[in-house]
Assembly symmetry: D3
Homo-oligomer: 252 residues x 6
């Protein structure tokens, strides 16, 4: 089975860096697939990407080497299994608040006996190879988003779920849930402490930690701290930022 | 934040009139966006519209002034939040039968602390403006469909749910649930009385009332009665009706 | 081979009536396919319909009985042949101004020896049947648009082209070309006379005459005059008209 | 209402044979619609087919006579009802493990009073006819997938659910669930016995039995045994198999 | 009719700056529509954008204020007129090498009597307004690409064509045509002189001059020189550039 | 630049075998990309494939090793250049009847000075690599279809065009043009002799010869004769053939 560059990075002691795609277009995905990321995450939750487009984007990602990852819209087995059948090598699942929710999520990503994923990896074999079934459970990564007060309350239990590879911190939602406004880079003391707490508890339980960062610079700091899976902003914000910079350069 | 023409109508003491789109096409949506409606509802439940097309239709609606509203296929947070992130200014949610279901629905439409909507309004800011987060909770309208006997039984509890703006009566399903066939304009006494009952209980609890009407004429009667949100038939029925009329004119 | 309802109407001494689709959607096309038209014309010239959507619309038309007709964007063999391969039973070709242009158009619609259409009727056989090749040349109808002053000048020559079934009058462009503004129903005396002239010259040469009409009522008059192929307005105008009428009914 | 060829086959004492489509394309669906199958199943679970494409494929199926069937991604009312509104004449529902799950599934396929399907059969009437509501409950077939150990444990209860027409055996998942690898044709004794057990218990309770087969030859054996609904492999596997055979023929 | 921001810039004595879109996605277009450009050019020539997607992108551009411009794949009336009917406010036409080619191009953009554009501005009126026909000829801008040796030879004749608003210099193709490799910023002396020559001859004939620039900084220099219509790189190059910069920031 | 497997086969003294895709779907293309063909030809002429879908199919082909080839709808530079920019490694051009037409075709596939292809290989670089411009002229293959009586008349001149790699024989059209019906495997003596004549004249002029074959067996015979580029039937025919065989196996 084709290896998972996220697991490769981890094996090499590096954090994996992912692009984060909200623009539903396979050419855009193909461009990103050749820009040097370890992974490319297709955001089917908040971006305006449909399932059909996510498949086409995963085909485009397969033309390069990054791992295709999908953030599903919700913790439901149908979405998760469809994206895995479409070739996803990892699932970021939003709003995991309890141990039961985490078990439901992780189980949907694994074939029996460790999970309840249904068999039929249509594009999975095309991306992964003919020995897909034998290695899928060990290759695919599971990332549970910790982004609410109630997830904080249940954190110790969540990170003990068998088969969970990593938590993924959503700073915006975590900040909102703790009573502050959205903040891509946590500013409020309470939020900063919550992030540190998630980091420590997860690592102490042998679970990796991912986080969404607003820039490459911020990513570098998180990598230095030991974070394992980091998204740099997203395609829509980056293109808009560079547009504004180039326009300013042009207009003086 | 761009204002919501549905709330504007309500503030002016008028019922809002919506087009109801079942044809999955952004040009069709753009035509409707310039025909004078207060709102345009994209039907992702019974029409054959996919999520991807619903986004494209909302982009087309943004070229005009009506509020983009979506009827989601079911009361699940993933659908609701995706449509809101896509720019919807209101959600019509089918089959709300209990207080718990209504709370689940309304909560999905509101950011914390009043709800549990996840943050990431990709197209929401493009339609609404950069101050989207500050005003979204107050701008977006929530409409719970009351269309079963069991919803009637739990009506008093449903309409007391905080954050519910309006009920929306589906005459066809209500009629079927009460043992009659589908009827776009209620005919059976029991159904007529049920509709009146919904109207009174809702209004008594400060909740607005919407209803689906088969024609402009029927809409006028409902407006006169005090209804607040009315759909005139749907695009597929209207185009078919005018086709048949014009063909009859042509063939004599 | 499945018969062509346009030819059937002609054989019965009736003019054929066509819907005119500018909304690129197969569900819309399927609705029209069941509304009683003799033909459904997909407008790939002025509507915003792409080739891909035109195919899907023709599949939808095949679920009913009307003839699928396509107005191609221009007199080029690639467009014409692609649409025929997709199952079109007739081609409306814009801007035919000379005998040579008409021969180029008609030849693209016919297999050798009468034309130069390339063989490979992918969807053609699915719509028409396995004996497609044997009858395609006799089944498919060719309609040349006469809509410029220069076409008027060359009319006698154009209508003598072998294999041309009908001319099709575009009142808007004809009116513009004669120095008047667009007019869906000719008003200027010069334009009215031009229309009558086209009618007479065509009929005198055994060529049928089609025209675009703004309404069913106008269509009835043209049918009574002997016109053979008439489009009633288009889907976008009709839906907009009925929307405005229903809104007026609603608002009083 | 247009009859359901699956029920026709059953009335004639034959098992129905279905194509199984995983390639999301309406032209491919239209080709299959003319190849002689009793039914064509669009796989929205494991194939890479989206809802939007499933609609377009059902339009293409309507150009021929086979019954359009859909395997939904999961047992959720939204997916089931959308596909029925899109014209599906049968639903294959994965992972039915308990009586409650089966009731939830079957209820979503039936209008009140026997179920809770919401009314609005947009394409349903176009495929089925204007009397759709009167006959839909009796025309549409429900097939519950039995593919886990826990389904085996609850089998007697599942097959007693009112309105369940058939079970459908998924050999791959059943085999995985029983501790063996995926096997399109059951080989392990335990799996073979489980299949026989499902067959006997279902038939004893008046419920029909379907199964997925890897080839026409295997299908013939199952038909002889009395199976009622059989899929022959799927389009992706068949096209790949014939490609490899033709290439071998070519290269010698 | 809605004004054309390109003409507005020109009236104000400024050069217009355009984004250049090669990623076929309406959400990407909508983001650009709110980033401050005077125009957004959809590249249907070298990008992988289809006609259907170009329409959807123009709908998205209409949600903001920039002028929607299209670079068509070739100088053919069908492409040009379809894009104008779709709402384009300007056409960039590649490979204009002779006076005749320029006349063919410009004529396709203008209604009679100044041109031969066919009437039917489906989305044109939705973007431009109901008085579209009266002002279209004066509002829409025509830009002829000068990018070959043969265009240089015929330049004096080309820029004298009535109705041509601007030339547009494609440095890459011009450089290749003059025997050098592609160069987004002309480096070879011969190419630099050719660019200057085009600038002078055009301006001397009252024709504006546009050019493709690789960056905002380069754009500023061209604006200072007096250029009238400048594209800053393209979306694919910009997103790739910022990806590489952010990754470098992240990895140190 | 990524090598062209068609040229590799030729360099190894083998004929290249191509799949021929008429089903517009990227998953289908991806399946074919892993089935062992030297090339995969996307038929944009007679299949129902649009430009947009052709791009997506080429992305899917890039996940495997076959050369992506496109049969364009007609000999026009816009179609040819768009497909090359989309990553095509070869163009099959229909209906080449004269030396001038062949020069127009070949020139559109080559950058100056040997041709007039415009620069902007959007997906070309993603498929081919960053040194695309330097090697594109030598890597891309050009195949001119010889399929009419008039092409036969001008054959000696056509095959002398510089830069033409291969002719490609379309047996169906050739047979029709010579007064016989369509015949995927030439049967009429006149057609057989014409095919042999094309083979000899081309080879004598150093031009390779391709032909469309109905089966692997027929392909083997052509390979043995020395043919250089052979398509085995097409996906639609193959899937239909295997469907019918499997159904026959099933029904006995």
């Amino acid at each position: 089975m084709r290896e998972n560059p996220v697991r490769t990075a981890w094996a090499e002691g590096r954090g994996a860096i992912t692009a984060w795609l909200t623009i539903a277009n396979s050419y855009n995905a193909e461009i990103h697939a050749h820009d040097g990321f370890d992974a490319i995450t297709v955001d089917v939750q908040h971006g305006v990407v449909s399932f059909q487009q996510a498949y086409e984007m995963m085909q485009a990602i397969t033309t390069g080497s990054p791992a295709p990852i999908v953030r599903v819209p919700w913790n439901d087995p149908a979405s998760i299994m469809k994206m895995l059948d479409g070739g996803a090598y990892g699932i970021v699942c939003p709003m995991i608040n309890t141990r039961e929710e985490c078990e439901k999520f992780v189980g949907a990503c694994r074939y029996a006996p460790t999970g309840y994923r249904s068999f039929g990896p249509a594009r999975g074999v095309l991306h992964g190879g003919p020995d897909y079934f034998d290695h899928a459970n060990d290759t695919i990564v599971t990332l549970a988003m910790i982004e609410t007060r109630s997830a904080l309350d249940n954190l110790e239990e969540i990170v003990k779920v068998d088969g969970l590879d990593s938590v993924y911190i959503g700073p915006n939602d975590l900040s909102i849930s703790l009573g502050h406004g959205p903040a891509p880079e946590p500013k409020a003391k309470e939020v900063i402490e919550a992030v540190d707490h998630i980091y420590k508890v997860s690592k102490a339980n042998g679970v990796r930690v991912g986080i969404h960062c607003p820039s490459g610079e911020s990513t570098r700091r998180r990598l230095a701290q030991g974070y394992d899976f980091i998204a740099i902003s997203n395609d829509a914000r980056l293109i808009s930022a560079i547009n504004k910079k180039e326009l300013a350069d042009a207009r003086g």
